[in-house]
């Protein structure tokens, strides 16, 4: 308490002060608490990182810092003071004059948040002009200056474009420029890079950090990724279930987290699969070419090998063709040319030409458990169907096997008659795993199985998959964009870019230098748990400009 008081005296009154804030959201006919008593303080020029899993209340909190409650939410207690004014007690019109001008917002999806009907420049200067802060001409000049600072290509002309004419990373920067237009005291960044690829993310992060520092703007940076927040924030606050778990300066938080929960946030990064000995080849693909329709080639001449009882990770960014590869192997998409061999026999292209027993031996687990489970089928029906369909199990034998499978995925038989809507994301993904295992497969294709889940749940799923592999000797083809996941589970790695294999080999070879240029770009773009990581990466890239292009 004492230390806090001295701090206040030294730095003056905080710019933003939130006291015992309580927010409720409306769902299923009831009001549920979303934020349960959070205190927060932010000084001028300071960047606070808010981090937590989905449902922790971080986005809601970010919006309340603007005096804005999302539709379906209500503020039930506490106070929000911005620069000495009580935001919650103000009239809506007074709050409106602060928004955009003194408190600005950068949303997660820039492509959805820019109005498709107006040019970027008009949207950028809108607040400044309508609030009468700047003249049109002056505002445009300032916006173009900011586009330049954010290193948007063709800064003079890009403002004349419409949102659909600009790429995602550029839009996100344009939105930062829009937020900076009135030179606000505070910016709320709500997961601004979550929708971007890692290689794009680096540049966007760098330009955001630069302008925030240059104009000494205070910011709240919201993210689920601690490594990203660590690059941006001076201080980090960890939220969970609407409460503060821990708050500390960024460096201290990373070096010595006080709470178990905070440590668990990077638990995936702590997992590492030791490389195992080679075995026989289970799946072999030679010179595969395919695509959608007749002309859109997505995969161009790919050859890979997967060993029995081992894990092959396929890494790449969106658009690299890695998910298409999974679709070809599972038979959903026919191959244009090339040869697939499974357990020594040729694997027909297209599931319709595969006999039922062959279909049984290759199973797939999907990225989003929400869409992979039929919402109208109970857990027992979902897991029971492959048992009945492939193995002909019925009655008591089927029930027994369902229970066994539920035990294998560490869920009890109390879930038998649950519908997917009543389960959490992690539980749903476990049911998907059980459904795949029910078929007694030899090869399981895992398509981004952990990327829709929270960090903690991710590590649980990865551990489960590892132990199941050790127990049942299944081979995994693991498709992911996340290097930490590769470290956690793979024996061999294939790096893909634009439908081609860039590099492949044992994990120890691919992930350690020297790299191919693209692998290097990809690996170096993955944020690390080190506040100096971004600075270091930028320095090395600027030193060797070829690396980035």
């Amino acid at each position: 308490m004492n230390a806090e008081n001295t701090d206040l005296r030294v730095r003056g009154a905080p710019l933003l002060q939130i006291r015992d804030l309580r927010i409720e959201g409306f769902s299923d006919d009831r009001w549920h608490p979303i934020v349960r008593g959070i205190d927060l303080e932010l000084h001028r020029g300071e960047v606070l990182g808010l981090i937590g899993e989905s449902g922790a209340g971080k986005s809601t909190l970010g919006l309340v810092a603007m005096g804005y409650a999302k539709p379906g939410c209500r503020i039930t207690g506490g106070s929000v003071t911005f620069d000495g004014q009580d935001l919650l007690a103000m009239k809506e019109d007074e709050r409106r004059l602060l928004r955009g001008a003194r408190i600005a917002y950068v949303a997660q999806s820039a492509s959805a948040s820019f109005n498709p009907a107006h040019r970027l420049l008009d949207q950028t200067i809108e607040t400044a002009v309508t609030h009468g802060l700047l003249g049109r001409k002056q505002a445009s000049l300032r916006a173009i200056g900011m586009f330049e600072k954010l290193r948007l290509p063709g800064a003079g002309a890009i403002g004349l474009r419409f949102p659909h004419q600009v790429s995602g990373g550029q839009l996100q920067r344009a939105m930062t420029a829009m937020a900076m237009e009135c030179r606000p005291d505070l910016i709320i960044f709500d997961e601004p890079t979550t929708a971007l690829d890692v290689t794009t993310q680096v540049e966007v992060l760098a330009s955001m950090r630069e302008v925030v520092r240059e104009f000494n703007t205070a910011a709240i940076y919201i993210s689920h990724d601690l490594a990203v927040v660590a690059q941006m924030a001076d201080r980090i606050m960890v939220l969970r279930h609407g409460k503060t778990v821990e708050e500390a300066p960024a460096r201290r938080m990373l070096a010595e987290p006080a709470e178990d929960y905070t440590r668990s946030l990077w638990s995936v990064r702590a997992l590492a699969q030791p490389e195992r000995s080679d075995t026989e080849i289970c799946l072999k693909i030679d010179n595969l070419v395919t695509g959608y329709g007749k002309s859109a080639k997505v995969i161009d001449d790919i050859s890979i090998e997967l060993q029995r009882g081992r894990t092959l990770a396929i890494v790449g960014e969106s658009g690299s063709g890695k998910s298409t590869l999974a679709q070809v192997i599972s038979g959903m998409l026919p191959a244009w040319s090339g040869k697939m061999t499974f357990e020594g026999r040729p694997l027909p292209s297209g599931f319709r030409s595969r006999p039922r027993d062959l279909l049984r031996r290759i199973q797939m687990i999907y990225q989003s458990p929400d869409t992979a489970l039929n919402p109208r089928h109970s857990v027992a029906e979902t897991i029971g169907r492959p048992l009945e369909f492939y193995l002909g199990l019925k009655g008591a034998a089927k029930q027994r096997r369902i229970k066994e499978l539920l035990d294998m995925i560490e869920m009890g038989s109390g879930y038998l008659d649950r519908l997917p809507g009543e389960l959490s994301g992690g539980q749903k993904q476990r049911i998907c795993i059980a459904r795949a295992l029910a078929a007694k497969p030899e090869l399981v294709i895992c398509d981004e199985v952990t990327s829709a889940l929270d960090q903690l749940v991710q590590s649980g799923i990865l551990k489960l998959l590892s132990s199941l592999q050790a127990e049942l000797g299944i081979s995994y083809l693991f498709i992911t964009h996340d290097i930490a996941t590769v470290r956690a589970i793979a024996d061999h790695v294939v790096v893909m870019n634009q439908g081609k294999v860039v590099e492949q080999g044992p994990k120890s070879v691919v992930l350690e230098p020297p790299h191919q240029p693209y692998t290097d770009l990809l690996l170096s773009s993955v944020p690390e748990m080190d506040p100096d990581w971004l600075t270091r990466v930028l320095k090395s890239r600027r030193a060797t400009p070829d690396a980035a292009s």
Binding site: D28, T371, R418
Partner: protein, 298 residues
Amino acid sequence: MSDPDPLSVPPVAGPGPRRSRRARIRAELKRAPLSAWFGGLVILAYVVLAVFAPLIAPWGEATVAGQPHQAWGGDFLLGTDQLGRDVLSRLIYGARNTLGIAVLTTCLAFLTGGLLGILAALYGGWFDQICSRIVDVFMSIPSLIFALLFLSVFGSSIPNLIITLAALDATRVFRLARAAAGTVVVLDYIQIARVRGESLLWLIRREILPNILSPMIVEFGLRFCFVFLSIAALSFLGVGIQPPTADWGSMVRENAALISYGNITALLPAAAIALLTVAVNFVIDWYVYRTSGMRDER
């Protein structure tokens, strides 16, 4: 929203208590607004009238029981029509005829349109193209106009009426079923079922149908209203249900002249039509609100 997958509670922990389906339906009904209750009761009353018409009606459907245009009261509670038939009895029989034909037509439209729509969504390709283009053409003309054309060619009879309206309505059902199924068939669980090697019947019955049921139920209500109003309009125009079959639309036409004398007999069948469609709409409104409104609109 909150994820029950936390550190302190391992996933092994058993789930909480769960309410049975019946208990949930009962709780749902208890919360239903007055309008939905009203709508439900009106529909129920109409169904009872339609089923037990011969037992309830004081006179026969086409019995000429009195003088033409007798006043309200006495033997004829709502008076008699231009031929001396009891208006009340004809109203009650009208419920049977008009409702029966509308329900039959709607069911027929849903069977054909719904099935074709789901198949088009599931198969895509040329099958979808052909079905969709045909439907486009039929939807490029108001269905009442098409109905008039077909009825003029084939003549007005009840089977012709049912087939014509069902065919025209099936095009609308096709659109909806195709769109609803279209959002479902791209989901991973359908892919999974397909790659598992499931049969077409399983895909439709177990995977798709349960997931498009609520929009289809809403559409059934709306289409029923539409068919019902179309039949009433056609009968009112004199090209729908033909006399002496009692029908609300034609009853309005037959007694319309009385309105100029301040007599509201002609308004009664029209009000009967209006009451039912309003009731159905009330129930649909509530159902839509329950199934989607809460989550989608916030």
